[in-house]
């Protein structure tokens, strides 16, 4: 810069100055965008996992301190209704809360649908327990949803009961308007009779929100939680 100022006539100096400013601004935009990617894919996971594990600890403490409820439906649904364990996704336990708004899901949890179709809960006689969680960022709890195959276990843990589901159908790509996939009887899965189903939904392909990835399972059995909270065979 200083050498150019000495050597060049004034207007050339002005052009060089503007170009160098433009260059610096472009580099800055590039760096900020790179930081944004880092934020979305890494930092939101750090924040969400921290939140989720604090909330999860709270729920477990509540379970310990509260007297055993007569009805599982009497659970406090504010803090979370239980934990989802999906061994094939290799992501530990996922706290499940009510609702699928960004405020809920951004805390690194899975949410059960209240809208557009009201989800059933695991202890309901029949219905579809429909869940959503992030594929990337904010905990990325369903990142490995594509690793699930038919026959894989999905276990939902409440204070008193382990609900063991088995995957029976996957839909690797569907429209985001395909709300029928979370119906009480999800016809697209091949089932036509009422049953106790579970549906996992997230976005696909990874790093985008263009389509939705759906996995269906059905309840195969329930197990009472014992004093040591021994996990069912699927989780051992």
């Amino acid at each position: 810069m200083s050498r150019a100022r000495r050597a060049a006539p004034r207007n050339r100096n002005w052009v060089a100055g503007s170009l160098s400013l433009l260059g610096e601004l472009l580099i800055t935009v590039g760096v900020v965008l790179a930081l944004f990617v880092w934020y979305s894919l890494w930092w939101t996971n750090v924040v969400a996992d921290r939140q989720a594990s604090a909330r999860g600890d709270q729920v477990r403490q509540q379970w310990q301190s509260a007297p055993p409820a007569a009805e599982p439906g009497a659970l406090d649904t504010q803090g979370g209704i239980g934990f989802l364990h999906v061994p094939a996704m290799k992501n530990g336990e996922v706290l499940v809360k009510r609702g699928t708004s960004p405020e809920v899901l951004n805390d690194g949890v899975a949410g059960y649908y209240t809208d557009p179709v009201k989800s059933a809960l695991p202890w309901d006689r029949t219905g579809n327990f429909a869940l959503a969680a992030h594929r990337d960022g904010h905990g990325a709890k369903f990142h490995n949803i594509d690793k699930l195959r038919s026959g894989d276990a999905i276990v939902f843990e409440t204070r008193d009961t382990w609900y063991v589901y088995k995957v029976f159908a996957q839909l690797p790509q569907t429209s985001k308007y395909d709300v029928d996939v979370i119906n009480p009887v999800p016809k697209a899965s091949g089932r036509t009779a009422p049953g106790r189903y579970i549906t996992l939904t997230t976005c696909t392909p990874v790093y985008t929100s263009k389509y939705r990835y759906i996995v269906w399972g059905e309840l195969v059995r329930t197990e009472k939680v014992d004093a040591e909270r021994t996990p069912p065979a699927e989780l051992r």
Partner: protein, 58 residues
């Protein structure tokens, strides 16, 4: 731009480098704490639910 900032920082090169580092960290903090959380919902990367178009996203 950065040259202009550098020339207007006080002290010798080491002090200027230190101040620059602090400024960079401050900018990154503001971006992560305020700007990115604000910008993220405006971008279509994180919708995971099925809905009827206008409803909940996440």
């Amino acid at each position: 731009m950065y040259g202009w900032i550098w020339r207007h920082l006080p002290g010798n090169a080491w002090v200027r480098a230190l101040i620059s580092l602090v400024l960079v960290l401050a900018v990154v903090f503001v971006l992560f704490q305020y700007v990115f959380p604000w910008a993220e919902p405006l971008l279509p990367f994180n919708d995971v639910t099925v809905d009827e178009g206008a409803g909940a996203t996440g």
